[in-house]
Structures are given as structure tokens and as C-alpha cells.
Symmetry: C2
Subunit: 486 residues, 2 copies
């Protein structure tokens, strides 16, 4: 403890001895520049001297410029005039490893156009916060805290909060996916779930089969893990011939298939039940484990009307289902889940514990209460209507204002548009000058395709801005055609 | 969408046609076993038939055993009698990679004695939930939610919630650690912080220098990343000769030093300011970056009286400081932070975004309010008194009841005891029969040492159980000496 070796030694006034002592600590570097000293009351107790002596010593130090005070905060050391020793200097660029290099170079947040309030931004597909019912949310918090508050803020289990695990198991049952040999792991959203699965079961150089295009965050995670990505076409549903061809070309080398059967991001395609069954049968034929991304499945007309691929695996153990509400509900809370074979879950639990011990118990508790009280079902009805209206309106606008376009997808939180002979990066540049931005579609392709596509996220825009923005995009497309004399 | 290809085709009664249609879907496997059908109202709308026809069809299916209903929940498919096709079968053990194998084999939760209510368990050093002031916690929630509720439950920034970042920057300033070229990243507790740093800057086979013994979770994380761990002795403070010897033996090969200067876990040792400065100087001499674990620093007599190693690095960029409140406050919320060079933080942000996007904004918001309102300072005063009393009492008990022991450490949430000629694993076995358990000390050593040590976590035990438990441990030690005729 600092200050513990203070001794009154000579005939100098006590406050001067204190001042000299503190000076020497600062000069030795034991009290760093900018740090806060104890209050005069505290220090007088520690040193065993009167408080007045400490106050006088502090005043001396202030007059010498070695201390300064901030009202209500205390006294701070100003050691600028004492030449600082050279610090430990590290070149962090040299230390960075390959995983970080990938994660950084693929982090589009670092290169994209920053948001500003005068932009009409079609970039986001995160939910419209105005649709959240905060008073219902508050009720869920208060109810859980009154039932088991201490438990929710203390350590929990790596697997998750038990009532939530039970709720989600039941939820998977309603989706027709229940199997006695499967179990739940609660995660920090889809992103962590996907990363954990690859962290546990993949090695750099492994091959993974997926839709082309697919979710750009998923592409980033697969690349960060050093995976070799093979895509199959999905324009008219999954191209099964292409899938079988790619599998036989890569023989037994394919480690996983990754697929988003409902509202593929970016195309918005929804796989038919027949295609889901066929996809499952092919994966079974070649013994390829499937990672199914349940992305926005909850926005489907009724969750009981179309079943996840996981529902065909009730007598198997090969489909790992990733669920998340965060594209529609409270994404700031970061909660998702994995439903998979018990043995696989067991391994994932230890990896999760090694990474961050467990997902916030508080958030799991609130979410459980929100789901279990029936508030979620009410909310889903409301947002399906709200997002459905936006989607239909945006489609009409695109039909009306944008020439030579082809619109993919069956709904969701975004439109995916393909243009004839237009480079969407160039279009974005021109639209940005008119204060409209969107996601260039090439970000979602694992090859050089998609340069003529764009994703228009709708969830956070008003009806007025959707029309205004799409009109500007359409006019800009017209200008580009004019320039090309088309 | 399922049900969309239904057509009325022949002269059979409509309800029979509906029944046959649903039958065929079940037989094709398109409606899985156990899944929920739409309500009769919903299905009548989808099929364009009367609700009565649907009700009659469902009744038929029930009488054939293909459906069953659960009151208030709906109608579910019972396709057991239709032979299920063989599922996709995967051997997850074969797929598991090295990282998972390490994380699993080092996961002590999987092998340790399960907790039961009749045990006196000295295993935990997590905080006593009874000391949490839940009404103050509730106030912080309600105040944040009323100020910016929508923002807290929607997506935030990977770096963290801005008011919390500002608060923590100021907090590091009070610790004397402020540097203009450093910045904060909010993480899911210490565990994620340490894992992110190694995920970003280490490669398998790198060497890391650390205290021996040290935190067993840290050992697990270092081993999972494939690091070669070199320990130095800390029994009488860090052994600087040993440190310099180990550095020169491993020349330029040491990637990081990892150190817990306050209340080293398990020994409870606190490094003096002089030792901290000397340690920093040696690391500077050899250009070895330091990961400083601020573990339980807040429990020190006053946080301004002893400065972290990070405070000597204000003109350097080589110390990465990890802070966390979770050993003392709300660990269920999983919030910690990294304070490091801006360039290093920038890389860590992208890796964090790749792993789980960001830490729960809700939890960050509540914690910020709790800290900023002064509630935290009041709480710290309270727990220092409470844990201090427990620590002193436990020390007295150990002195009174346990023979031939040596107690290390200056306080904190646990005692660390070394015994003469006693194997603490054998002691644990015998104590378990008497319903007392603790952490065998060898878990904290990176070599074969510590077999005669034990860590007694005190934070969650009553004064009565502390005395009762330590008495039983002492009696068991006596019995073991008797058996050995010592």
C-alpha cells in the first residue's frame, strides 16, 4: 500500500514533511500523472497526522503546480513537469494474427458510409425501435426481478437460464423439431452461435457449402475461420443439381452446409417445404451436417405453416439449428440459441464457458418473461402487419420508379433488386450525393457476382422516406441509362 | 408455404378432402411429428373453406390417431405410426477440433463435485447475492429505460455504450492510467476480454509469462489458445531474478506477460507499488507487452492508494488493462472492459464484432446508471466491510483449527492455505464425506506444484458455516497426520 512507509523524521513542520513525502512518491513514479489522491480526511487517517496538516500539504503542492483540484471530485496529480520515463512501446500491427486480420479487413462497418440524420438509409434491417412496447418490457423486468432478482444478477449456467431453455425447447417442439437427443444452448445472438459452432467443429481449410448469395456477416465469420466457401445458386430455389455436382467435386471434403431457408438474406427467398425436405435428403445421402439459420422465421405468415429443416431431423442428429429473435425483438439484448445434438451441445457449452462464461442472466430472465407472458405473440402480430405493409408499399414504389429491375424474394425486412447493366457501387456513389444510401449486393456474394444488385432495408424507414428514397434511386438509374445511351 | 397447393377436386365431402390432404402432407414428411397445426380458424382462411369443414377434418384425424389436442395449446401431429425415415447421423466426436478438445478437457465444471444444499462449499469466490441492493438496481433500470429505452434494446456499437465508455475512461483516469493514445472496449466480463486479446494477438505455440500460481480460468484460456506457459514464483512478491532468467532463456520468444497485481487468485498476494514499477521496467527493457488483470482491485482499501501497472504506462502503449466488476457486483450481467492502445482496441473491436456484435446495451445502460449515480461507491464501502470481516474471521479459524499450515495473501474473497505433507486432493475426498468441499490448489498451478495447497472461497458462506467448515477441515488434517503417524 502506498503511503504506508511514511514516518515523521525531522524538525520540519509536519505539513512540509508530508509535502516532501508526496513529492518523492511522485518523482519516483509511484503516484502517476493524473491520478487522484485520497481525500485529506482519508490521508490523515492513513498517515496518522492531523487533517489540517494534510490540507496544508495539499495547498503547498497546489502552489507548486504538482496538484490540481476538481470541485467535488478531489485532488489530482499534475506531474507533467517531471520528465516522464519512456514507456513500453509495442507495435500492435506486427503482433496481430491472421484471425484478426480477416475479422478487421472484412469488417464493413469500418469502411462504409457513416450514418447521418440527413440521409435516407436503406442499409439497416434491424427492427424499428418504435414498435417495441417498452411498458410491456418494463413489466417483464419488474416481474422477473421480484421473483428471483438476486439470482438473475449473480452467476448462472453456461448452457443458459433454465426457464428460458425449457421455453425454447417447447418452442422447437412447436416447430416440429423436437428430438429427445437434442438440447439448447443460449448464446449472445446468432453471431455468437455461428462463431461458436465453427470454433468447435471447423479447422482452417475446411470446406463449407452455402447459398450464394448469403448473409454477409456469415461470410465474414466463415472467412475469419479460414474456411473454403462453396456456393450454390438459389435464384429459383436451391439448385439441387448444382449442389450434388459441387458435393461430388469436393468428395468427402465438405465439413458443413450452412443455409437460411426462410427469408434468405439478401434475396428474401423462402424455401418450399418440398425443397427443405429434398435438401435434407441430399445432406443425409452425403452425411454432411447442416447449420440451419432460422433467421426471421418468426416473420413467416404463421410459424406453424412452414417447418425448419431441423424438423426433418427428429430421428437424426445432423442439423444444428440457430434461432434468434434479434432481427425482430430487442437486438440490443443479444440473445439467440442453438438447438442440436446433446453431444454437440455439450462440447459447445465448454467452448462458450471458455469464451464468456454465459449470456447475461438478466437479459435471459427478461426475455423469458416476455415470451412466456404471451407479450411476444401480440408483438409478432403487430410487427407482421407493420413490416408487411412496408414491404408491399416498397415493392409498389420499386415497380413504379425503377426501370429494368427484377425483384427477388417473398417478404421480410428488405427488398433485393437486380438491375440491368448497372453497377450498384456506382449507383450508390451517385445516390449518396442525393442523400440516399443502401447495401450494394456484391457484399452478399461469395464470388464476383451481384455487382448489379442492391439490398434495400425497410424496417426503420417511414413510408414517406421509402417512396422518396426509391424515387431518387429510380431517377439515378435513369440518369445512368441516359449516360450509357440505353 | 405449406397448404398453399390445396384444391377442391372431387365429389367427396369437403372435410374428407381436407383430411386426405393433411394425411398426404404428413405421409410425405412435410408436416413433422409433434408439430402444431394452424387453428381451425386460421386454416379455414388459408384453404378458403368453412371453419366447420376444418373442425370436422381435425376430428377425423384425431379419431385416426394422426392428431392429438392439448387444451389451450392446439392440435399436434402424431406421426409415430408412419415409419420415420432414417435421419442424418453425424459423429460429433470425430468433428471436434483441438480448441474444443482443450476447452472441454480443461472445463473443471464438468468433473467437479456437484453442489448440493447440504454441503459447506468453500469453492466459490463469486459475490454474496444478499449484499446486492436490488431496489437501487431497479432504480437504475427504470431511470435508464425512461431516458432512452428504445436505444438500449436496439443494436448498439461494438465498442460499447458511449456513456459507459466515458465513465470508464474517467475511472481509469482516477487510477492514474489515463493516456490520450488509449481507449476502452466493453466486453462480456474478464473472460471474454482475455479471450479476445489472445484471439487477436496470439498464435498457437507462442510463449506467455505469468505468475505461478494464477487464476485457473486464465490458465484454461491460455492453454485453449495453444500457448506455452512459463511461470514465475510470487510467494514473496514476484521473483524478479527468476523473471529475468526466464526471459533470457526464452530470448525474444515471449509474446505477452499476464499478471494480476491485486489479490492474485489464488494466493491473495498484493504487489507493492515498487514491485509494480519494477515489473513494468523489466517488461519495458525486453519490450514484452503486459496483460494486466485488474481482478478485485476495487476491494483494495482505497482504489486511489495503489495504482495498477497500467498507470506506469501513460507514456507507453504496452499495457493492456482488463477491468471487471463481476467478482463483486452483478456478475450475471457479464460486463468488463479493456483499456489499451487505440490501435490495439481498433483491432479488438472488429474481432468482438465478429464474435457477438456487442455486449448487451441494456446491461451496459443499467451498470452505467448504477455507477454514475454514486450507488456503486456506497455498495463498495458496504462489501469491503462485510468481506473484510469474513476474511479476518476465517483467518482466525484457520489459525485455531488447522495444524501446520501457512496462509498466503492480504485479503480478498478467499484464503489460500498451504499444508505440510498433506495431499489436498486426498483431503478433499475425506472432507467431502463430511460434507465440506473446497478448491484443490493444484488447479491454479501451471506445473506439478501446489498439491499441498487449497483455496477457501468465503464470499457466499455465513460466519457459522465458515467456522464449522474450517473446523472439519482441521480435524480431517489431524486424522491424516494420525494415519501418517506424524
Amino acid at each position: 500500500m502506498i503511503f504506508s512507509d511514511f514516518r515523521l523524521e525531522n524538525n520540519l513542520p509536519i505539513y512540509i514533511q508530508i509535502k516532501n513525502y508526496i513529492c518523492s512518491l511522485i518523482e519516483k513514479g509511484l503516484i502517476p500523472n493524473g491520478s487522484k489522491l485520497p481525500s485529506s480526511r482519508e490521508l490523515s487517517e492513513i498517515l496518522g497526522v492531523s487533517r489540517n496538516s494534510v490540507i496544508a500539504a495539499y495547498e503547498e503542492l497546489k502552489s507548486e503546480g504538482l496538484l490540481y483540484s476538481i470541485k467535488g471530485k478531489g485532488s489530482f496529480v499534475n506531474a507533467d513537469r517531471i520528465t516522464p520515463s519512456n514507456g513500453l512501446s509495442i507495435d500492435w500491427n506486427r503482433l496481430e494474427n491472421g484471425f484478426s486480420k480477416n475479422a478487421n479487413s472484412l469488417d464493413i462497418v469500418k469502411t462504409e458510409i457513416p450514418w447521418s440524420s440527413d440521409l435516407i438509409s436503406f442499409k439497416s434491417i434491424s427492427p424499428d425501435g418504435e414498435l417495441f412496447d417498452m411498458s410491456e418490457f418494463k413489466k417483464s423486468f419488474l416481474s422477473r426481478i421480484s421473483i428471483e432478482g438476486h439470482k438473475l444478477v449473480n452467476y448462472g449456467y453456461a448452457q443458459g437460464y433454465k426457464p428460458l431453455i425449457e421455453y425454447l425447447t417447447d418452442y422447437m417442439k412447436k416447430k416440429g423439431s423436437f428430438s429427445k437427443s437434442k438440447s439448447i444452448l443460449v448464446t449472445n445472438g446468432f453471431t455468437e452461435a455461428f462463431d461458436l459452432i465453427l470454433s468447435t467443429f471447423s479447422e482452417p481449410g475446411d470446406t463449407i457449402l452455402c447459398e450464394n448469395p448469403t448473409h454477409n456477416t456469415s461470410i465474414k465469420i466463415m472467412k475469419s475461420h479460414g474456411l473454403n466457401i462453396i456456393g450454390f445458386d438459389i435464384e429459383n430455389g436451391p439448385d439441387f443439381e448444382d449442389i450434388e455436382k459441387k458435393i461430388s467435386e469436393n468428395s468427402s471434403n465438405i465439413k458443413f452446409a450452412y443455409i437460411t431457408p426462410s427469408y434468405n438474406n439478401p434475396t428474401g427467398n423462402v424455401m418450399t417445404p418440398e425443397s427443405r425436405l429434398k435438401f435434407y435428403s441430399i445432406m443425409r445421402k452425403y452425411s454432411i451436417p447442416v447449420i440451419e439459420d432460422g433467421f426471421n422465421e418468426e416473420l413467416l405468415y404463421s410459424s406453424s405453416h412452414i417447418f425448419p429443416i431441423s424438423s426433418f431431423d427428429t430421428s437424426g442428429n445432423g442439423v444444428i439449428y440457430i434461432g434468434s429473435f434479434s432481427k425482430i425483438l430487442f437486438p440490443g439484448m443479444r440473445i439467440g440459441w442453438i438447438y442440436a445434438d446433446i453431444n454437440a451441445i455439450d462440447k459447445l457449452i465448454s467452448v462458450k464457458r471458455c469464451r464468456n462464461i454465459h449470456t447475461s442472466s438478466l437479459d435471459q430472465g427478461i426475455l423469458f418473461d416476455y415470451l412466456n407472458s404471451g407479450r411476444f405473440e401480440k408483438y409478432i402480430k403487430k410487427i407482421k402487419r407493420a413490416y408487411g405493409e412496408k414491404f408491399n408499399f416498397a415493392r409498389e414504389c420499386a415497380d413504379k420508379y425503377i426501370k429494368n429491375k427484377y425483384i427477388l424474394g417473398d417478404g421480410g425486412l428488405h427488398l433485393f433488386v437486380r438491375l440491368d447493366n448497372i453497377d450498384s457501387r456506382k449507383l450508390l456513389e451517385k445516390c449518396y450525393e442525393k442523400k440516399v444510401i443502401f447495401m450494394p449486393g456484391d457484399l452478399f456474394y461469395i464470388d464476383e457476382n451481384g455487382r448489379n444488385t442492391l439490398r434495400l432495408g425497410l424496417s426503420r424507414l417511414s413510408i414517406e422516406d421509402i417512396e422518396k428514397g426509391i424515387k431518387i434511386i429510380g431517377e439515378t438509374v435513369d440518369e445512368m441509362y441516359d449516360e450509357m445511351h440505353l
